[in-house]
């Protein structure tokens, strides 16, 4: 099963369940039955909010590795010295 098939199957299943609630094949007590028609929109908006929120948080907490950069520069110098001494051409 590809990811596409999996996703599609899940979508069909959840839509099916929602439709049975919507057409009252399975009855939902009031006032919950007022919410049923709005559920798809609610899911989409929540998912969108989750994505944006996660993305925002990930960027906000992104670690800048300045120290790694500086220590790397030092190591590059060390490497250049060592290799020049052993006859390797360093440009």
């Amino acid at each position: 099963m590809t990811k596409a098939t999996q996703t599609l199957t899940l979508l069909v299943l959840t839509t099916g369940i929602w439709l049975t609630l919507l057409f009252e094949i399975v009855k939902v007590p009031a006032p919950l039955d007022q919410i049923v028609p709005t559920l798809p929109l609610w899911v989409i908006v929540s998912f969108g909010a989750y994505l944006l929120g996660t993305l925002g948080w990930n960027i906000f907490t992104f670690q800048d590795k300045e120290a790694a950069y500086h220590s790397l520069l030092k190591e590059i110098d060390e490497a250049k010295r060592d290799l020049k001494g052993r006859g390797v051409t360093i440009d």
């Binding site: 990811k3 990930n58 960027i59 790694a68 390797v88 051409t89």
Partner: protein, 252 residues
């Protein structure tokens, strides 16, 4: 010039395991000797058996000349040069290198210092802890991070990563990272089926590996981007990436 006496006891130490680093190169004349030095130092300090397989795509800048010098310094059993006729792509470069790799583990990494060899012993430790098939370096979890990205770059990279994670659900935190340790047999198997190029290539490998049920672990790494010059990510690459995600979505 005599080669420096290494601290490891030879090619058979470290519990019988040997680590082959495959380095695809194109115009890496300046970087190659230094990255080789860093790799050699890391492995020797850790007492591990290692080798580097340089796969050069007929670089016009004389990268191969430098590779030959490095072979003289470190020995032909430590450094190999396996040249190719032209710029033939990353996937096939790895496949070519794999033919000559004599280790039972393979490390793939970039030759431009964005990946620091110092993380390799951590990868190895992680691999041994859980007998993992693949250990990947992640920029986006734990203590991972990047030096040299502006806001726009961070936005695009994390956005693309999030998109892939949601759609393809590979259950890793960094889908396009190219600093990874593989069991040689696992890499051979996964790479056979992988067809994409560029960023999508690395993503396809990990998605296929996950689908095949391989055990994958992660180690946070610091990624130092473009130590010489600017990091550019064009809209062309972004479109290619989106297309790549879609094609993986419908095929794996």
């Amino acid at each position: 010039m005599a080669a420096k006496r290494s601290k490891s006891s030879g090619t058979g130490s470290s519990g019988g395991h040997k680590y082959s680093v495959i380095l695809p190169t194109y115009n890496e004349r300046s970087n190659l000797p230094i990255i080789t030095y860093l790799i050699a130092k890391t492995f020797d300090d850790a007492g591990l058996a290692w080798e580097i397989v340089i796969v050069d795509d007929a670089s016009p800048d004389g990268t191969q000349e430098i590779a030959e010098q490095l072979i003289k310094v470190y020995g032909g059993d430590r450094v190999q040069l396996r040249a190719r006729a032209g710029k033939l792509g990353l996937g096939t470069a790895y496949m070519h290198g794999l033919k000559y790799a004599t280790g039972d583990f393979v490390v793939i990494m970039d030759a431009d210092f964005s990946h620091h060899p110092k993380y390799i012993p951590e990868f190895i430790r992680k691999q041994q802890e859980g007998d993992c098939d693949i250990v990947l370096g992640t920029r986006y979890a734990g203590d991972g991070g990047v030096y040299g990205w502006d806001f726009k770059r961070k936005l695009v990279s994390r956005g693309a990563n999030l998109l892939s994670r949601v759609i393809l659900r590979p259950n890793v935190t960094d889908v396009t990272g190219s600093f990874r340790l593989y069991k040689k047999a696992v890499l051979e198997r996964v790479i056979q089926e992988t067809k994409s190029k560029g960023y999508v290539f690395q993503m396809e490998m990990i998605v296929r590996a996950r689908a095949a049920g391989y055990k994958i672990a992660e180690v946070p790494i610091a990624f130092v981007d473009r130590i010489y010059g600017d990091s550019k990510l064009g809209s062309d690459e972004i479109t290619q990436y989106a297309k790549g995600v879609w094609s993986l979505f419908v095929s794996i």
